[in-house]
């Protein structure tokens, strides 16, 4: 489904490389976890994959369902079924969640020659998704993330994921900021969304999340590269020994 080959990226117009040759393959039905120290490039990877204009790919490529999307605009990538749950969800005053989601849902439907939903149908559909993460319906009519608490913002990202039903989702530290109960609810929600036809890449600092959402693969990212991949035992090893130890072993 996703094939990242030798991906190098810089901040637009600057020299310094942030991604220094990332390789990653994700097949449908899989759940991956990426761990790694602060500043190692995890969020940058998720943004480059989803087409953030701030970064420029200087080498390598990103294939999605066999198609090269390296130069594609962010909205076109979204139409293909790519979704990013932001580490820091952005506040957009004046546009309600509902408006955003209806516009997004119908735009994606149009791009894929699927039927659009009229406002009433969409309302029903939207309400049916509230249960996935026990979201209160009052959030639908509030401006996007505006004044939401940290945890509410994270929940809202997963709610949007549930509504848009993407093929591949990057969840960037969705667990950070969620309380203990919310973490369980949101994880249950993600597990409900996950199926044999889609795929999920979770970025996290904590093994705790992986107890709720079981990954098939765990990758460790350091200094702009994926330096080690394995199964869930890799996360346990990290939890026990930390990145420093791993760095030494690798050297």
């Amino acid at each position: 489904m996703l094939e990242i080959k030798n991906l190098h990226a810089v901040v637009e117009g600057e020299e310094l490389e942030i991604l220094k040759g990332v390789n990653l393959t994700v097949n449908k039905g899989e759940i991956h976890a990426i761990m790694g120290p602060n500043g190692s490039g995890k969020s940058t990877l998720s943004k480059v994959v989803s087409g953030h204009p701030e970064y420029e790919v200087t080498e390598g490529s990103i294939l999605f369902e066999g198609e090269d999307i390296t130069e594609m605009d962010a909205d076109e990538r979204a139409h293909l079924g790519l979704f990013l749950a932001f580490q820091y969800p952005v506040e957009v005053p004046g546009i309600t969640n509902k408006t955003l989601l209806r516009e997004a849902y119908n735009t994606i439907a149009r791009a894929n020659e699927r039927e659009e939903l009229d406002p009433l149908e969409f309302e029903d559909y939207l309400v049916s998704k509230l249960d996935v993460i026990e979201m209160k319906d009052e959030f639908l009519n509030r401006s996007i993330n505006t004044g939401f608490s940290g945890g509410e913002k994270k929940k809202n990202e997963i709610f949007q994921m549930a509504v848009l039903n993407p093929r591949l989702s990057f969840l960037d530290e969705t667990d950070s900021g969620l309380d203990i109960d919310a973490l369980k609810i949101v994880s249950d929600g993600v597990n409900k969304i996950a199926n044999q036809d889609n795929a999920i890449v979770m970025i996290t600092h904590y093994q705790r999340l992986l107890n709720y959402i079981k990954p098939d693969f765990v990758h460790v990212m350091m200094n702009g590269k994926i330096v080690k991949s394995g199964d869930i035992s890799l996360a346990e090893e990290l939890e026990a020994n930390g990145y420093d130890q791993m760095q030494k072993e690798l050297a």
Binding site: G51, P53, D73, A78, P89, I95, I144
Partner: protein, 481 residues
């Protein structure tokens, strides 16, 4: 500049569509400004003696005044001696018959999307078309007359309804009020007059469309709206001008009078030519607009969408004299390129339990400068009065400026004044967030801007909300929450 910002700028700074000129044969009139010119002007308009006196007195007051400089804008001052104070097409209808209107002028309005034929017009909207110094045509006059509503050009009102004009003209904005009001009082050419009798709801929207065509003329129009006890009216003004390299002066005076329980809603869609990228040309829009809530429980509401002009100085105000009267000001001011806007409002609370609301939204892009200046004054006797002000600025790019100057004074402890102000930048992160959800860049920008201004645009009469949205190139579709 990033792609987003560029797209945003090009969208807001969209090419001016109304910049064409109309080939018209004008009456001869000498340039310059002195008492002889004013007499000539008054004579041309066949005015009564009292009107000439009003003009001459205003002119003498003006001569004593200094051109103001206190606002946040810099520009080359107009050369008052070199302006043309009267610019009337030679061919004009005498009987308000469309057939007599110069076909070129008719075509102009057609092109501006304001066909003058009644059957082609928006149902429910009566239009007074002002071309340079004169009113060309007023539609639906008869229909309005059936309801007792007077809607005609100011020139006609001076002749046909002198007692009303005499009673109210200069009663809200005295000639000595300020430099440009004094000038206008001396040389005003035309404008609209509306009178809504007692307990009458005006059966149609009234609107005036101002067009400056002549390069050398200034436009000084005068509008007076009087709503008697229990009367209500909604009025809209629209404006455009051709693109010239020279600046042109537009110095209007608008006076509104609301008696007991009367309700006046005044909306403006201002789209004068704003000059080019280098800041060359464009209209100087120096306008005095003021309403008085004379009667108890009366209400005056100003709504404006300001997108044009090179320089705008404009503060539509309300004097809340009647007890329980209400004043409102809703404004969106958009500046791009090198435009300068210094705009806002004054709410003067004199009566008891008076209320005012101010919602101002400024959007600045390019190298423009957008200032909000608002004064809220609560007088000694205005017990239990309240003001609520919100003043939000949105910046696009790094080279524009937004400023807020609130002036608040209260002499009455039982009254309250609340002021909120925010400044935000249209973030590239916001645009990326929406695009990541599948929304195109253009739509993302539209949605953000539309979200920012919707509290104001919803105050516009429905018929014009569409035009306003087109003007902002905002797609309402799909984003109405």
């Amino acid at each position: 500049m990033s792609e987003e910002t560029k797209a945003l700028e090009s969208m807001i700074g969209e090419e001016y569509k109304y910049g064409f000129t109309t080939d018209v044969e004008y009456e001869d009139f000498p340039k310059g400004l002195n008492e002889e010119i004013i007499k000539e002007l008054s004579q041309r308009k066949e005015e009564p003696e009292w009107m000439l006196e009003f003009r001459l007195k205003s002119y003498r007051a003006w001569k004593e005044m200094e051109e103001p400089e206190w606002f946040n804008a810099t520009y080359k001052k107009p050369d008052f001696e070199n302006l043309l104070y009267y610019s009337a097409p030679k061919k004009r209808p005498t009987l308000d018959s469309l057939d007599e209107v110069d076909p070129n002028i008719r075509e102009t309005y057609e092109k501006l999307g304001i066909p003058l034929e009644e059957q082609k017009m928006l149902a429910g909207v009566a239009v007074d078309a002002v071309f340079d110094s004169v009113s060309i045509f007023t539609s639906f006059k008869e229909k309005l007359a059936e309801a007792g509503v007077i809607f005609c050009s100011m020139s006609e009102a001076i002749k046909e309804h002198p007692e009303l004009v005499k009673k109210y003209i200069g009663s809200v904005v005295p000639a000595r009020d300020n430099f440009y009001a004094a000038l206008n009082s001396a040389v005003f050419s035309d404008g609209s007059f509306c009178y809504i009798p007692k307990n009458t709801k005006c059966p149609m929207e009234l609107s005036t469309y101002f067009r400056i065509n002549n390069m050398e003329s200034g436009q000084f129009e005068r509008t007076l709206i009087v709503a008697e006890e229990g009367a209500s009216v909604s009025y809209l003004e629209g404006c455009t001008a051709p693109m010239y390299d020279e600046n042109q002066l537009h110095a209007a005076v608008v006076e509104l009078v609301a008696l007991d329980r009367a309700d006046i809603k005044y909306s403006t869609i201002q789209n004068w030519y704003s000059g080019d990228e280098e800041g060359k040309g464009g209209i100087y829009n120096f306008v005095t607009k003021r309403g008085i809530c004379k009667g108890a429980h009366s209400k005056i509401s100003w709504t404006q969408l300001e997108t044009g002009s090179a320089v705008t100085l404009k503060y539509p105000s309300v004097i809340l004299q009647g007890d329980h009267s209400i004043g409102e000001f809703y404004s969106v001011a958009v500046t791009t390129k090198k435009q300068q806007a210094d705009t806002g409002t004054k709410m003067i609370h004199l009566g008891k339990n008076t209320r005012s609301t101010i919602i101002s939204k400024g959007i600045s892009a390019g190298e423009s400068n957008n200032s909000y200046r608002g004064e809220v004054k609560i007088g000694k006797k205005a017990t239990g009065s309240k003001n609520y002000s919100v003043c939000d600025s949105m910046l696009i790019g790094q080279t524009c400026g937004a400023h807020t100057f609130p002036y608040i004074s209260s002499e009455n402890a039982s009254s309250s004044v609340e002021h909120e102000a925010t400044t935000s930048r249209v973030g590239e992160e916001q645009i990326f967030y929406l695009m990541q959800r599948g929304i195109s860049e253009q739509d993302a920008i539209s949605m953000i801007i539309n979200g920012f201004v919707k509290d104001v645009l919803k105050e516009l009469p429905l018929e014009f909300a569409v035009e306003a949205n087109k003007l902002l190139d905002i797609k309402l579709e799909g984003s109405v929450g």
